[in-house]
Assembly symmetry: C2
Amino acid sequence: MKDIALLAGVSATTVSRVFHSPNLVESGTRERVLHICKQNQYVYNATAGDLSRKNSTVVGMIVPTTRNSVFGDSIQGVQEKAQELGYSIMIGHSNYDNSAERKLLQRFRERQVAGLILAGFTFGQERFIKSLIESGIPCIVTSERLDDSSMSYVGYDNFKAAYSMTEYLISLKHRRIGLMIGPCSKMNRAKKRLEGYKLALEDHGIPYDPSQVIEREPTLIDGKEAMGVLLSLKERPTAVFAASDWLAIGGLNAIKERGLRVPEDISLAGFDDIDVAAYSDPPLTTIRIPGYEMGRIAMRALAEMIKNDKSEVRQYCLETGLIVRESCAEFRNNVTTSLE
Amino acid sequence: MKDIALLAGVSATTVSRVFHSPNLVESGTRERVLHICKQNQYVYNATAGDLSRKNSTVVGMIVPTTRNSVFGDSIQGVQEKAQELGYSIMIGHSNYDNSAERKLLQRFRERQVAGLILAGFTFGQERFIKSLIESGIPCIVTSERLDDSSMSYVGYDNFKAAYSMTEYLISLKHRRIGLMIGPCSKMNRAKKRLEGYKLALEDHGIPYDPSQVIEREPTLIDGKEAMGVLLSLKERPTAVFAASDWLAIGGLNAIKERGLRVPEDISLAGFDDIDVAAYSDPPLTTIRIPGYEMGRIAMRALAEMIKNDKSEVRQYCLETGLIVRESCAEFRNNVTTSLE
DNA sequence: TTGTACGCGTTATCAA
DNA sequence: TTGATAACGCGTACAA
């Protein structure tokens, strides 16, 4: 910038102004400066600008993994909104690991992010996140509906969604309902789903049976393996609620491998409504969550918090939907009996 | 840092040293400084450090979209390696759009990225990318095997992979082979696949028929729609090569909807070997690409280029594999005839 | 082992 | 409308 100033015969201040407030510079000067910038392939240094302005324009985002399209949707939403607003996105994945997550959080703080978007967080991270907020880095959690009234989120009600799906299965006369669930010992999101499942059972007088519940990572292979376990249970479930579509699709594979049919022999429900859920055979009954929209809203809210009040608490609870497709059917005693 | 220095009764330089070369500081002083840092919740400012050192530790990555797990794998690989090496990742997606891509490139440059990883790039971007390299920002392209000997890549041979799949289909006695292909008018990767398909046909004396080729975005819905077009062709293909698993799975859906069977009535092959390809019904014959590994290698190579010679050209061509599962069968004339 | 002085590329402030 | 100066938070060279 100094060089440009020299070549243009103006001060560095003027050059700077050409970029951030062109109207303060006489049009002649402006064009001359601009011209020289082109000629010399001058590139503005945004980090230096941020430093000088004590004001960062990058926000960090942490997801459990980028391999799962559930988070891909959110990233896309965040990213697009960020672009519109002039922010850049720094990304990291935690693999559901508390210490990896902590390191990322620390790293992002050192990188002077203006704010943070977290697609959930592992248990035990709360205090650290709050300390970030106190230190002036607003954080928004997505994919969750937090009970804590002092933390911001743009999410949905995992408890309610899981409850509604379980209840739907019960309304189909199922009473032995297996559950394949994500890392509920690590993430609140999964835990809430488990609780929703439990309460729905209870509310309908069905005793909770821990042997019908399997915790795994939300992947195809884990889903297949978990379903294997459920199917070889003495008290085999007549319906399985997979609280992740990946678990469901993996499970579907295991079911077919054993020559069983969905939904005739066993009902199967998912969660997330990833694209491929509608394309599976049979199409998967599942819970739709607004991943992309959530990302956009979170980024917009975060930007506002950054500009206005960094310690403000914002909470948005988006709607989920029960998408009924063809993977669940009414329980008919004879069928299952004949297979047992 | 100045404050810490004051509180510790040392100079800012000493505090600085405590972080980047602790061994130069007497252990007593070191511990005292560290202690005061904890007490005052001092956080190191990595961007200021980068600025002062004229040396960035963030690298940019551009993918077409984060919604496609093909890129999710690469991101994961890049991200993990970056973490090991002390780099942070800035991410952006282009949506296969040239001008969006250009804006990201420009933005990353202003952000002083130390290097760039591009999961391919749209036609017309080459010159700009080269100018980035010339200006000292090493760029590595992934998912491609570039013909240009002046650009670095960590990729695989799309041409060869597509050729081999087409040839496999031909070896199964298919002679009318449809092609569902990604944005080959925008991205080299897709174009190369198209060329591989063409040459394989030619080498086996099969005339190229443009009406058997449909270009779409690699999504489920486009795959379904494209397959609809192919299936209603007068000269319906006996096999379809979907040069993207998403296109294939979308297509599979369209096939089943018409009451046709795979592979008995029509063979179907994919490309990418995304996780779900092995879980589809029937499991998809496809081309395996090393997405995760590619990401790791790219990041490692980039880091080396940043440290050593920024204008060095590195080219890694990774192996792809033809994964034969159950979605392709030998063509039997009677079957197709009876259906027509 | 520690400190001083200066510079990194930009912006804010104040004065002209 | 423009410029001089100081500052942002840190690292490096050199001196002590």
